[in-house]
């Protein structure tokens, strides 16, 4: 009987020591790093992939009060305001904060801490454009001969899609962005549900029929890295830095966690140097730490000059309206004038 009780206690103890991290589906880290963290802390890590970054955050919001995880990682600056307003995060000023790039600390309440950053950007297939001219200015994309070559993600269901939409708002303005999208629509732009569908199904590099895709500035480097020697140079390239959108990904501790200490350890660990230096080749984002070195292959991923940085307040205020207007114009085929008239 006593042995049974001891066993039960051990089981209960074992469960209490498990830490669940809710992440977006692109999450990935070196298994050895994870194992080492588990050995050193006695915690067991469980990663839970909740879908797209926005979808993952909404899961956390919908389960507020009985959180499905202890820590959430991967919501970005386009959704930062929603995470803060929903009040699902606990403030934690990690000792690692002083090592982070100051420009990334977008939440002064320290409920959301930056883990990495990068740029959503247009990629093109080099082989396809070897003999054909590339578009010269962003406006060229709206011309039928280029619009038919482009695949984008639905901003309502995909965070790179949303980032690209916001880049067009920043580039063409509140009045012009809908005209730009209406021309893309008429020219035959394709809309995919999420990044992986756009990249792995419709992009010509993966046997699709679209040589232009909304992806990340680091994607060309990733192609070289994963090619196992097949490529010495990236098979893809970046287009139009002025349409590249600056993205920061955050981590936060979910309110209602049963293991606050453990959750804090996980946050510290994500911001520690070994993990930060692992992030570039696992998730193809730049480390948020100032002192983290970049892998060699990142020479193919230069930071885009003149990229779009949008004020988080503006994003919070207009995000829903932009998505709605985009949907009306691109998916429903309404005219930009009618949509603008509908604004109050």
């Amino acid at each position: 009987m006593l042995r049974l009780l001891a066993l039960l206690a051990l089981l209960a103890f074992g469960f209490a020591q498990e830490i669940t991290v809710l992440t977006h589906s692109s999450f990935s880290l070196d298994k050895g790093l994870i194992a080492r963290f588990e050995r050193e802390t006695g915690l067991r890590l469980r990663f839970l992939k909740g879908g797209d970054a926005g979808e993952t955050l909404n899961r956390a919001i919908l389960t507020k009060g009985a959180p499905i995880a202890d820590v959430i990682y991967g919501f970005d600056n386009t959704f930062l305001s929603r995470a803060l307003e929903a009040d699902i995060l606990l403030p934690y000023r990690s000792p690692e904060v002083r090592n982070l790039k100051a420009t990334l600390l977008l939440d002064p309440t320290f409920r959301a801490l930056p883990v990495d950053y990068g740029w959503v950007s247009l990629n093109y297939d080099r082989a396809y454009f070897k003999e054909r001219p590339l578009p010269k200015v962003p406006q060229d994309l709206a011309r039928p001969e280029y619009a038919r070559l482009l695949v984008v993600q639905n901003p309502a269901t995909s965070s790179p899609g949303l980032a690209f939409l916001m880049a067009t708002v920043a580039r063409f303005g509140e009045d012009g962005y809908l005209d730009f999208w209406a021309k893309l629509r008429d020219g035959g732009v394709r809309v995919a549900k999420g990044w992986s569908e756009a990249y792995y199904t419709h992009f010509t590099l993966y046997k699709g029929d679209r040589p232009l895709v909304v992806s990340y500035t680091t994607s060309p480097a990733a192609e070289v890295y994963y090619s196992e020697g097949k490529y010495q140079e990236p098979p893809t390239g970046n287009l139009f830095p002025e349409l590249a959108f600056f993205q920061v990904e955050f981590v936060g501790i979910l309110k209602g966690t049963k293991n606050l200490e453990g959750a804090r350890k996980v946050v510290d660990w994500l911001l520690s140097k070994p993990v930060q230096e692992n992030i570039p080749t696992e998730m193809w984002m730049y480390p948020a730490r100032r002192d983290a070195g970049l892998p060699e292959v990142f020479r193919f991923a230069p930071e885009p000059l003149g990229s779009v940085r949008m004020d988080p307040k503006a994003m919070a205020q207009h995000r829903e309206r932009w998505i709605e207007e985009w949907t009306k114009v691109v998916l429903q085929g309404q005219s930009p004038e009618a949509v603008r008239k509908g604004r109050r």
Binding site: L48, K49, E55, K64, A66, I68, K193, K328
Partner: protein
């Protein structure tokens, strides 16, 4: 006793349906509601859902009617074909969607990519509902021979006999089959979500997108209300249809050899999506899914699916029986109890999150949703059998001294047992393949087979796709097997 049963059902409906839905509606009524309905985009979604439901019903009927006339004749393996035709109806939606992707998707078997087209969605709807329509039309078709012959004897031309005698007799069955197909297709979720792309999202998919990605409650609840009203209208029409009493009839003369072969060829074609699923499934994928580290391991998902199905059936069974008993004597109860078939599972799941925040972590929430969506199916199968029992049997038992409960348990129940097991089979299949509510209420430790498939489908690469195919095949096998064990092809439902 009927009153007690009615009370039980009403109590459950209040807690599990009306209160949560009320919470959503309360959020949506007001400005957001007006804004959503002023948006032509949402009306576009609505019109497409209507179009999808109507087109599917027409297509299904135009295929099911000639089939019904073929099936009223004798031919080898007739019963087996009949049982097979109903199989898709109990297949979980991700299975059917994956089958069609395996056949006609971007990486499809035939090399024709119909992903994101109307044609693919309509094909899937016909695949799903053909068996259902056939089951409803067949009994009428079988009994049509005698009255038609009478008309011919009285001097009518074959055309006139069909127009004036055959068609009017068929009409109620055509109507109810068409309405049921409309009901299921109009509110479809899994198939349009997985096969439609953004262009062909139905209202139900739009509700899910609005909630899961944008947390836009007002718009979502407006669309939900629109859906309930439309489905309610369809259900009212369905309940109004009264079949004509038909004379006794029997199976017609045997089908020719060529006819039988043709029919076999048709069914081979019909089941091509499942065949493609089988051909693309690798046993290795099943093994790699068993202890997967990237996704929910198959072992956990399978255990969850079986466990939840069993528990939810334990809940749905008494509810279904109570509802059937209560609805036998009351039209109002009949209508009220049908309500769960009209509301979207997505909305139900969401309503639970809103209405019972303190229960968010408890399994009771999920089981409640499953039971709610399953019990009407069980009761629909039971109700006709209960209604057709001669009341004199019950009176005899009562006169001989049995209490009402005892009379029910010892006299009525054994007599309706075959219908009950058929209903149970249907409820079981529905729970095993449930998608919408599970997706909304999802918690990692609750991942079922259906969700494990969806989880893998959302990831890039060949390996997850293969695992999804393998899981879909397993789920199809499981549903079909359990359904067959309980129903044995009797199919006393519909």
């Amino acid at each position: 006793m009927a009153r007690l049963a009615g009370l039980l059902v009403l109590l459950f409906l209040g807690l599990a349906l009306f209160y949560p839905l009320g919470r959503i509606l309360a959020l949506g009524v007001g400005e957001g509601f007006a804004r959503a309905l002023a948006n032509p985009y949402y009306w576009g979604r609505y019109l497409w859902s209507l179009e999808y439901g109507l087109l599917s019903a027409l297509l299904t009927l135009s295929l099911a009617l000639p089939l019904a006339f073929l099936f009223r004749r004798r031919f080898p393996l007739r019963e087996a074909f009949l049982a097979l035709s109903t199989l898709p109806f109990v297949l979980p939606t991700p299975v059917v969607a994956l089958g069609f992707l395996a056949l006609l998707g971007p990486r499809g078997f035939l090399g024709v990519d119909l992903y994101g087209t109307k044609a693919l969605l309509l094909l899937a709807a016909v695949f799903y509902n053909l068996g259902l329509a056939l089951r409803i039309l067949l009994p009428v078709a079988v009994h049509l021979a005698e009255p038609m012959r009478a008309a011919r004897v009285l001097g009518a031309t074959p055309f006139r006999a069909l127009l004036r005698v055959g068609l009017p007799l068929l009409l109620p069955a055509l109507g109810s089959a068409g309405l049921l197909v409309f009901l299921y297709t109009f509110s479809a979720f899994g198939v349009p979500l997985l096969l439609g792309g953004p262009r062909y999202a139905t209202l139900e998919v739009e509700v899910y997108t609005l909630l899961a990605y944008r947390l836009a409650f007002p718009e979502a609840s407006a669309l939900m209300l629109l859906e309930i009203l439309t489905l309610g209208l369809a259900v009212l029409l369905y309940l109004r249809l009264r079949p004509y009493p038909l004379p006794p009839g029997g199976l017609g003369p045997g089908l020719s050899w060529a006819g039988t072969v043709g029919l076999a060829a048709f069914f081979l074609l019909f089941f091509a999506p499942l065949g493609a699923l089988l051909l693309q499934a690798h046993p290795g994928a099943l093994a790699s899914a068993w202890a997967s580290e990237d996704f929910t391991p198959l072992s956990l998902a399978l255990g969850n699916s079986l466990r939840f199905t069993l528990l939810a059936l334990l809940l749905a069974f008494p509810l279904g029986v109570a509802y059937a008993v209560a609805a036998r004597g009351s039209r109002l109860m009949d209508l009220l109890g049908l309500f769960p078939l009209m509301v979207s599972p997505v909305a139900v799941g969401l309503g639970y999150l809103l209405a019972y925040p303190s229960l968010r972590g408890s399994l009771g929430l999920l089981l409640g949703a499953y039971a709610l969506l399953a019990y009407p199916l069980l009761a629909r199968a039971l109700l006709p059998a209960l209604k057709s029992l001669p009341p004199s049997l019950l009176w005899a038992a009562r006169v001989l001294g049995a209490t009402p409960l005892r009379a029910f348990l010892r006299v009525e129940l054994p007599l309706v047992l075959p219908a009950l097991t058929s209903g149970l089979a249907l409820a079981l299949a529905a729970i095993l393949g449930e998608f919408g509510a599970s997706l909304v209420l999802w918690r990692p430790e609750w991942t079922t087979l259906t969700l494990a498939i969806y989880e893998r489908l959302g990831r890039p690469g060949e390996a997850p796709f293969r695992e999804a195919l393998a899981l879909a095949f397993l789920l199809a096998l499981l549903s079909a097997l359990l359904f067959y064990l309980l129903d044995r092809g009797r199919g006393r439902w519909g």
